[in-house]
Structures are given as structure tokens and as C-alpha cells.
Symmetry: C2
């Protein structure tokens, strides 16, 4: 299988589980259920679940052991997008080419949909905790990555530094490592934890660099991207005075940083035994992505 | 100790743990940490933690076994107030006599503070999961009560039925059992689960009735209460067309329903061996509360 076929296979495996999950939702009122399903089924690259499944493969971990963690991570990611798109946050009317959750269901329901997805991700993780200590550890790691020492810290700093022109790398690194990095690290490190800690330090380093790479290519796409491919507004970072890699390094500087990070990711993977071809392909895919 | 002294003792015990927790928070940026602490330390009755400690006492469960669940519950309750106070939700500018979180920190930060508290409550519960199967069960029960089959379902229905004049008891019961009831049941049932299921059905029934009583007295206070004692706006339910017990039963009808529920709570407690004096006092306190 080439890279695209393998990506498609992981995606199919994950989407089957996600669709089963969505079909099993029977909460009331109807508007709550519909708003959860709407955002979960908007599509997207599902990069976090794909990373979970691919890293599990690399480490010889059965996918059934990690699939619910992949699901929980996608729920957390989706909740963060719903809240991030709100008018007083990033104020995005489009997500994946369709109207944002709050444009369809209203702000009040969108707040609740996000809260509901976050809470449901923990109902999935708590159920996993019955399977043993490493499942508790993996759940705690994901919780750490999503929380006030992780993604939420990054989002808060991102908000704080809007229109702050005193660009410095330290602040940028804090925002990127937390806002995007930790939730890209999470599926990779989770696979290691569930495999008894295999290549823990290497995979953590890989995840950190891949997360920063992912955010920087996002910044580049905000300048050079195309709404029809991205499915979300472009040119917003500059307009809203966001603290981005393009603002700090310039567009060319951001591209150079992206190349360095991609190279570092590939170098870490070199040190890991096993079939790492797909993850190397994924690094290249993230570096060159158009959406 | 009389009722007030005992309430004060539980409150002191809980507040000590809460303050330790707040002092231990060292997330960045500063605004995130401050907004979490602001809402957690606004005070309040802390009825959920008090219920956890009091039910544990009744069942002979050491308070150290339930105290972190009490903390997680108070974090969940606090997050729900922050999000509920947002302009597009219940739009409350005051909470416990002080400006709401979003009035101090802005809507964006208030969304994140709520998300952060919810996430942190699960970092507390996941840590408890290492202590054994009943700790996982208790955590799962709390997660259920807080989630899309519990509090969030109730809030969604509450929002949906604003300005709906087709008052019926079935809808009201759904809203009350979920929006308020489940998170009042949670500390009581958690104590039972951690005690190996002692008086599980009785305490569940007690919690359900106490939750409805609590919400109905809230409705009555919205009509008859006093801002200086309540610390939040009054008369808002009618103004905003909320689906309340006063709207469904009328003010006198709501008071009669409250008396019936209080009587039922006392009757359930009669069937439980042990020192139930404090919980009987608590039923009376909730029925007659001024804030």
C-alpha cells in the first residue's frame, strides 16, 4: 500500500468507529444530539486518530487497544474547534467548508456541544481505566495535554497575545507547544504508554516537532492557502493580529522553520525499529499539505 | 454540634482542600490561573461537597476517601456556572454578589476557564482511578451526571424551552432532573458507591428528590428573593421566559411541591440506619433557604 492508500485505510478504520459512536448517541433533546453529530461528522483529516493507529502499528500494538483513545482525542479536538470558532474566540463562520457549529445551532448550543464532547471524551477514557494501570496512565496523559497545562493554556496565551506586536520566540513556542503541539503529541505518546513505554522519549520528541510543524504549516496556509481547499477562511491571522510563526519569522522564515522541523521528525524516526515508512510519509504530507 | 456548626465544620474541611488546590495551581498565563481561582473562590454554599462529606459520615466512610470527589464535583459545578452565566446562555452579570467570570475576564477567557475547570475535574477523578474499581465506578457516575445524559442535557432542554408557553410537567421534570438533580445526586450516590453500594437505591431516591427541591426553592427565590442575600439577579426567570416550576405550578403550587419533596426526603432518610440528623437538617435548610 502506498501512503495515500494506508492513510485511507486508517481513516476508514477510525470513521467506522466514529460513525458507530455517533449512531449510538441517544441523548436528548434532539438539538443537542444533532449538534454533537454535526461537528463530529464534518469530516476533516482525522490526523490525531491516524497518528494513534499508525504509531500503534509501528510499535506492534493492536489497534483495538488504542482505538477508543483515538476516539476520545477526536472528541476533544472537535470540542476545541467548536469553542475556538465562537464569536468572542477566533470568530470563524466556516469549518471544513461548512458553517461552524454556532452558525447552525446558535452560540448557547455550541457552548453546550463543546462541553458535551469534552465530557463524553472522559466517559470513554474512564471506561478504559478498567483495563489496567497503563490505560489510566494514557488517560491521564491525554487529560494533561488537553487541560490547563496543555491546550487550554495555549489557547489562553493565544487570546492574550492577540495584537501584541512584541514578537518573540519564547512566547510563540509556549503558544504552539500547548495550543497545537500537546494534542498532536497525545496520540503518539499514548501508543507508547499502551505499549509499555516503547521509544517513549523518541516519540515524545517526534510528537513535539510534528505538532509545531503542523501549526506552522497552518500559518503558511493562512497566507497562501485557498478557501476551496482549506474549507475555512484565509488571511485571518494577520487581520486579527494573531501571534503566529509568520508574524515572528516572516513567511520565508516560517517555511525554513517548517523544513527544519520536518527534517528533525524524520531523523527521530530513523532511530526507531520497525516499519516507519508511513510516519515518514506523514511528516512529508504535513509539510506539504494544502488543507 | 447543632446543624449550623456541623455545616460550618464540613465547609471548613472542604474549603481547606479547595484552597490548597487553588494555591497549587501554577498554570500559565496568569489570566487563566486567576480566572479559575476567581470563580472557585467566590464562596457559595458548597452544597455538593457538604452532601458528599455528610453522606460519607452517615455511611461510616472516611472523609479522605471522598474529598477529592467532592473537589471534582465543585469544579464541575463552578464550570457550569461560568458557562451558564455567559451572555448567550443565561446572561447573568452577577454571581454570589460579585461580577460573573466573563464580566471580569471577558467572554473568551470565561469559555476557557469553564473548559479548564471541567478538564481539571477529570484530572482529579482519573488520579482516583488508581485506587480501585469502586473509584472508577464513582468517577464514571459523576461523569454520567455531568454529561450529555445529565446536566448538559438539562441545560440544553432549558435553553430549548425558553419562551415555550406550553408548560407541562414532563418537560419540567426532564429539565430539573438533569439540569440540577443529577449533580445534587452525584455526591450522595458517590458516597454510596465508595461504601460498596450501601443504601444505593434509597440514596439515589433521596438525591433525586433533594435535587428537585433545590431547584424549586431556586425558582421561588427568583420570585421572592432578595439580591443582597442571593448575590445574583432576581426576577430573571419570568423576564426571560424560563420553563420553571413557578411557571408550571404557580408560586403556591411550587411551594406545595417543595413541601411534598422535603417530606419525601425525610421519609427516605428514616429508612437509613445511622446518624441522619444532619441530612434531615439539610433538607429543612434547602426548603427554607434565603440564598
Amino acid at each position: 500500500m502506498n501512503f495515500n492508500e494506508k492513510y485511507g485505510a486508517y481513516l476508514d478504520e477510525f470513521n467506522t468507529v466514529l460513525n458507530e459512536f455517533c449512531n449510538g448517541l441517544d441523548c436528548r433533546p434532539e438539538v443537542l444530539k444533532e449538534s454533537l453529530k454535526y461537528s463530529l461528522q464534518l469530516g476533516g483529516k482525522r490526523i490525531r486518530p491516524v497518528l494513534a493507529l499508525a504509531t500503534a502499528d509501528l510499535l506492534g500494538l493492536e489497534s483495538r487497544k488504542i482505538i477508543n483513545f483515538a476516539l476520545a482525542l477526536e472528541l476533544i479536538h472537535t470540542y476545541s474547534l467548536i469553542h475556538d470558532d465562537l464569536p468572542e474566540m477566533d470568530n470563524d463562520d466556516y469549518r471544513r467548508g461548512k458553517p461552524s457549529n454556532h452558525k447552525v445551532f446558535g452560540v448557547g448550543n455550541a457552548v453546550l456541544a463543546g462541553d458535551g464532547l469534552l465530557n463524553t471524551s472522559y466517559s470513554i477514557l474512564l471506561k478504559e481505566c478498567r483495563n489496567g494501570a497503563e490505560y489510566v496512565s494514557a488517560s491521564e496523559y491525554i487529560c494533561h495535554c488537553a487541560g490547563v497545562y496543555g491546550m487550554i493554556a495555549g489557547q489562553s496565551a493565544d487570546l492574550l497575545h492577540e495584537n501584541d506586536k512584541s514578537f518573540n520566540e519564547l512566547t510563540l513556542n509556549f503558544i504552539y507547544e500547548n495550543k497545537t503541539g500537546k494534542l498532536i503529541m497525545a496520540p503518539i505518546v499514548t501508543a507508547s504508554i499502551l505499549s509499555g513505554g516503547k521509544y517513549y522519549s523518541e516519540l515524545k520528541a517526534f510528537g513535539r516537532d510534528l505538532g509545531e510543524l503542523f501549526q506552522i504549516t497552518d500559518d503558511i496556509l493562512d497566507v497562501e492557502g485557498d478557501f476551496s481547499k482549506l474549507g475555512k477562511s484565509v488571511g485571518k491571522d494577520k487581520e486579527e493580529g494573531k501571534y503566529t510563526s509568520v508574524a515572528v519569522y516572516g513567511l520565508d522564515g516560517a517555511k525554513i522553520r517548517a523544513d527544519v522541523l520536518a527534517e528533525r521528525c524524520r531523523a527521530v524516526l530513523e532511530g526507531i525499529d520497525g516499519d516507519r515508512g508511513f510516519l515518514v510519509g506523514l511528516v512529508n504530507y504535513v509539510r506539504n499539505r494544502k488543507n
